[in-house]
Point group: C2
Chain length 228, copies 2
DNA sequence: TCAAATTTAATAGTATTACTATCATATATT
DNA sequence: AATATATGATAGTAATACTATTAAATTTGA
């Protein structure tokens, strides 16, 4: 998988960036170091000025790649979802049995990232942490409808739809496949957050994973013959 | 219910405010108008200066009630969860049948607020919208552990725990009652958001409510004798 | 390989935000 | 009426989120 993914470029809506950060060394450093910094200090405290200092570049140069830090967050999270989508499709593509396919899909989508240095300048482990802590902020805005119209969330939407289709293949009569798919994806991020900060509000802990919880939940919800 | 609730004061952690906004006319106007303004312009664009202008008061006077707008958001959302908790306990208290109690609890917790002018200066309908759009921002911060330690989230945590206990009463062997409870509360806000902004990602629409989806999901997940 | 084009860096500047400080005035309490 | 307290007005600071301009470095391509 490593070698394969090295040659794949995740296609991100061109309107999200001013200049493609993949097209230059500076661009890659912006992406690489912004991930480290947002993880360290949180999205609110992160600024382009601080990033410029850190990468020995200039604030104004960063603005030539991204209009503002919100767009940068959209870029990073789109990248993450595109990467997860790729992993999910890759892992489930060859599986024909619907319930095994669904089990695998949930597994890939709700697992934490352990290690994946396929793309040199993107640290997927930290990016996963950023998505848990910051993704909601990218859409809980007054501009969400406009930005959605411009296609800034297509990758995420496609991913939810893929999961929904896999759910339907297991139980075509289940009445809420879209809601269940979106609940799994969003709820998984939430359970990871709770495990870290509000352990009383979750059953997930060192030995129980969000993957186990959601696998169990989804298969209880669906009518199926074999629990995989 | 109206008259009863008029005499109830929702107990909010005193560390959240500098001076209790319930203790003065200015304090009440701060709460009242901040709800309107955050709904109108979103939490990011909302500032104490703008609020001061709107209520014909001064920025510095508002700082005498709340340290910053983050604390004000914590206050408003705590108020909301306290109010919902009250409604939930009130509605389920007299029910002895566990599955009917659970059904009622989910109903109260996942329903949109239609109209409830029990507390004169708090518009619960708008507050519900604010919680949907802004609540996550109150805890997705680098300070969450410290603020949690100081008790800023007690009401919400108590509410999740209450729901979890009601779930256990229906099926004491279900392995993930806390996660299911937190999924219902958080997921419900999310489904409302999706219904409004990403209709393709949910089955909730004009005729299907998040309440129906979650009621169905929870009862599918639990082993029980009667679906109510 | 030299000139032109492009990219990046450095500096400065603006409007706004998120406060803090000070002092005056209005209102309530005793 | 004296005192305390709450509020208002004004000013000020450091940081943020940019934009603009110009200079220097690097790339490109003829």
């Amino acid at each position: 998988m490593d070698r394969l993914m090295q040659s794949i470029k995740i296609g991100i809506n061109e309107k999200i960036y001013v200049k493609d950060p993949e097209s230059s060394d500076l661009g890659k450093r912006i992406v690489e170091q912004s991930i480290l910094m947002i993880d360290e200090m949180g999205f609110e405290s992160f600024t382009f000025r601080k990033l410029g200092d850190r990468i020995n570049s200039n604030e104004s140069s960063i603005y030539r790649y991204f209009e503002n830090k919100h767009k940068l967050l959209l870029y990073l999270t789109s990248w993450y979802w595109g990467w997860l989508e790729y992993k999910m499709v890759f892992a489930t593509n060859s599986i024909s049995e619907p319930h095994i396919k669904l089990k695998k899909a949930i597994e890939v989508l709700t697992q934490t990232v352990k290690e994946d240095i396929s793309f040199s300048h993107v640290n997927e482990i930290l990016l996963n942490k950023i998505v848990i802590n910051e993704y909601s902020k990218s859409y809980l805005t007054k501009e969400v409808d406009q930005e959605n119209k411009e296609g800034y969330f297509v990758i995420y939407k496609r991913l939810v739809n893929r999961l929904q289709e896999i759910i339907i293949a297991v139980d075509k009569d289940y009445p809420y496949p879209s809601s269940l798919a979106s609940t799994v994806l969003e709820g998984s991020l939430h359970q990871y957050f709770l495990r870290e900060h509000f352990p009383k509000l979750t059953d997930c802990n060192a030995s129980v994973t969000p993957t186990q919880y959601f696998t169990d939940l989804v298969f209880r919800a669906l009518n199926h013959n074999d629990n995989g």
